[in-house]
């Protein structure tokens, strides 16, 4: 009984014809492949016989330097290895790069198509993940959160006395902002991996409805026009989430970055929910510097969670912001309550060491976020700042 597809037939080289013991079918859709072996890019090639049958990732890589738009050619060129086309020597490269020249995103539309296909057919169940549209390439979406990290944060929150409800909310916010990031990548013209240049950020979606994914706005707006003081502040916010960001240009990471600082979100679950102002979250952490007792309220492992980076000693810069943030928090009563909790908790079991540990290695990362509230065109109730904007925005 014929069970398996005939690989030779798919290569166009089966000599048995009807006598063949294997099934003569053209390349099947990825889903119907019982063994699951197949190419990642299969979705592009559903009609085409796949010469390899199993994971031709190498093949797809082989033409990385060439016209990426001509994808069909890649699969016909069965035996060209990446190093051959890119000119890299086959022996080990001196800079320890195992991968030869990779996909270069020469054709953003093609990259966009890949992204669309991936998201259409293969969205993973676990959403808090980084993503690259091309294997071996840097991530387009940064901000990985593993299953264990999320669970550990929830356990820490519970230990600190946060209600189950607020933990759930925090996680839901995290999820929503991450989904918004993926949406962004899908909708906007493809600009290259997040880890590349700062310029490659998602352009401000001027047409985006205000109510829709405020995190999008946050991501987009500030990067290009943040004056330094604010940037430093953002840097603090970013530092909290350094673990999530990939390269120097973390901008695209922001909406995820800040809200996902677990300790922060824990403090301001509602503030984040209503305001979508990462600043609120960033503040709770930021204020730790001037206010060590608050820092101490975080159990060590949460404080260091995903973030061994330094809290930027640009404390001064956020003092102005701090006050406005606290007002932001107060605008949603519950969050303030939570914030107060953290303060009171901080008095017990103070571990100054915690905040010190936070100050270890701050990579310089510019992250937009908190002050983007000032750039929003329309404020939802509950997020209207009560203070005047910092001078930067006047």
């Amino acid at each position: 009984m014929k069970k398996e597809p005939c690989r030779n037939f798919q290569r166009g080289s089966c000599q048995y014809g009807e006598k063949c013991k294997f099934l003569h079918v053209t390349q099947q859709q990825p889903k119907s492949n019982a063994f699951g072996f197949g190419t990642q890019a299969n979705s592009h090639q559903q009609q085409k016989p796949n010469p390899f049958g199993f994971g031709v990732q190498n093949n797809a890589q082989s033409k990385g330097g060439n016209d990426f738009g001509n994808k069909q050619t890649q699969f016909k060129n069965t035996w060209t290895r990446p190093s051959a086309s890119s000119g890299a020597p086959s022996s080990r490269q001196p800079d320890n790069q195992a991968q030869t020249t990779n996909h270069k995103c020469n054709d953003p539309d093609s990259c966009k198509r890949i992204i669309a296909e991936d998201f259409e057919h293969e969205r993973p169940l676990w959403k808090l993940t980084c993503y690259s549209h091309w294997k071996n390439s840097p991530c387009d979406i940064v901000g990985d959160v593993s299953l264990e990290e999320l669970r550990a944060a929830a356990y820490d929150d519970a230990k600190r006395g946060l209600s189950f409800q607020s933990i759930i909310e925090r996680e839901r916010n995290l999820l929503n902002s991450k989904l918004a990031e993926f949406e962004n990548l899908l909708r906007n013209p493809y600009k290259g991996p997040a880890g590349s240049t700062p310029a490659q950020q998602i352009p401000f979606p001027g047409g985006a409805p205000v109510g829709f994914s405020p995190t999008v706005q946050n991501t987009v707006a500030p990067q290009n026009n943040f004056p330094p003081p604010v940037s430093s502040f953002n840097q603090l916010g970013a530092s909290l989430n350094t673990g999530f960001s990939q390269g120097p240009s973390v901008q695209s990471n922001n909406p995820f970055g800040q809200p996902t600082s677990f300790s922060n979100s824990a403090q301001f679950p509602n503030a984040f929910a209503t305001n979508n102002v990462p600043s609120a979250n960033a503040y709770s952490f930021g204020s730790q510097q001037p206010n060590q007792s608050v820092a101490a309220s975080f159990p060590t492992n949460v404080a260091n969670f995903g973030n061994s980076s330094v809290i930027n000693p640009s404390t001064n810069q956020f003092s102005a912001a701090t006050s406005s943030t606290q007002n932001l928090s107060s605008s949603s009563g519950q969050s303030l309550g939570v914030f107060n909790n953290s303060l009171s908790n901080s008095k017990a079991g103070v571990q100054p060491a915690t905040s010190v540990q936070l100050g270890k290695n701050l990579p310089a990362k510019v992250v937009s976020g908190d002050s983007s509230i000032w750039l929003k065109e329309k404020w939802a109730p509950g997020e209207i700042p009560e203070d005047a904007p910092p001078d930067a925005y006047v």
Binding site: K3, Y16, C20, K21, P30, K31, F35, G36, F37, G38, Q40, F54, G55, Q57, N58, R81, P82, S83, A84, S91, R92, Q93, N96, Q97, A98, H121, R123, P124, L125, W126, T129, C130, Y131, S132, H133, W134, K135, N136, S137, P138, C139, D144, S146, L147, E148, E149, L150, R151, A152, Y155, E171, G243, F244, T300, N301, N304, G306, N307, S308, Q357
Partner: protein, 342 residues
């Protein structure tokens, strides 16, 4: 691969399982002892054949990984940032050292005589367990990583570290000053687990997107031509795939075939050389969090423990199943080519 016979039982369930999620489990290299780390802050030592609990060691926080040193002692990695050594016979444990964030993975290298830990503080640390307790005496080195460490695996003198953001570093344990190779994962989404082939030629890497990539250390064209990836742990439903994270990979010590466990509750056994699936065990009550073959490959321990991939929801209790492994499930079946026509 349609099965004619009724599915076999999932294996013998161990008594006295941990009271919360199981993060990892390992068979000893010397016996059928099984070391299990759990979110209930304990490390438990079982005699898997006898189904008895031989020891239980409390930690300050959830224990995320554990490994054996020899049959009398082991090590643990905890979310309370500590790395501990546990002496089973004395029922004692002491702190070998600390990271700045939860310690996610731990391995003991027989080749180097060192304990290697990876943490969410983005560092790898090597420890000499012969030193007295206290970080000053035991810490051999700290090696920064591009991102938080999610998984690591050893074979011979090679160490593979997989971090957040899809980075992979390959080290030679004899020279840790810099990675031997720096890579990005071949897969598109978050790395879940990395395991080296027992023959030392490469590693398997799994992600949250229901895929496993088979990679090779040798950077020559010939070797790199062999690498591939395959889809697994997916469920077709209403025209779409539900794509599950692949949480665990375990290599059979004798045959070099490997088992993968995913959030779909299935354990699959694969032949990496022939690119085939050899077997699929019947579905476990909930997500498969960890897998381990015994030293002779006769037993497979499966941690059936919900990993919260779908948030908080009612789930089956955490359990450890130990099943006897049949040769037919794990032995490679080389391709049989039909005879050419006369």
């Amino acid at each position: 691969m349609a099965s004619v016979h009724p599915p076999p039982a999932p294996g013998r369930e161990l008594s006295n399982p941990p009271t919360d999620g199981i993060s990892n489990l390992r068979f000893s290299n010397h016996s059928d002892h099984l070391l299990v780390s759990s979110w209930d802050k304990t490390v438990r030592l079982y005699d898997a054949s006898a189904d008895s609990l031989r020891g239980e060691f409390m930690h300050g926080g959830p224990v995320l990984d554990c490994c054996f040193h020899d049959d009398s002692s082991g090590f643990s990695a905890s979310a309370d940032n500590t790395v501990r050594r546990i002496v089973f016979s004395h029922g004692k444990e002491d702190i070998l050292g600390r990271h700045d964030a939860p310690v996610r993975c731990i391995e003991y290298s027989y080749a180097a005589g060192q304990v290697i830990t990876g943490s969410w503080d983005k560092t790898l640390k090597c420890w000499d367990p012969r030193g007295a307790s206290g970080q000053e005496r035991t810490l051999v080195g700290t090696y920064p990583q591009p991102e938080r460490v999610y998984s690591l695996s050893l074979v011979g003198n090679r160490l593979v570290v997989a971090t957040a953001g899809r980075h992979v570093n390959v080290y030679d344990l004899r020279n840790m000053s810099q990675p031997e190779q720096r890579r990005e994962s071949s897969l598109k989404y978050q790395t879940r687990c990395v395991r080296c082939y027992p023959n030392g030629t490469g590693y398997a890497l799994s992600s949250v997107e229901g895929r496993v990539a088979m990679e090779f250390f040798d950077l020559s064209e010939v070797s790199q031509a062999k690498k591939y990836a395959f889809k697994c742990h997916r469920k077709s439903e209403a025209g779409r795939d539900i794509v599950y994270p692949v949480n665990a990979i375990a290599f059979h010590p004798v045959y070099g075939t490997f088992a993968t466990g995913g959030c779909d509750g299935f354990v699959n056994v694969w032949d990496g050389n022939n690119k085939k699936r050899l077997y699929q065990y019947s579905k476990y009550p909930t997500s498969v969090a960890a897998l381990s073959f015994s030293r002779d490959g006769r037993l497979l321990a499966v941690a059936s423990s919900y990993t919260f991939e779908e948030g908080d929801k009612p789930h089956e209790p955490d359990a450890i199943f130990v099943r006897s492994v049949n040769e037919i499930e794990v032995k490679p079946k080389p391709k049989v080519y039909p005879n050419p026509p006369a």
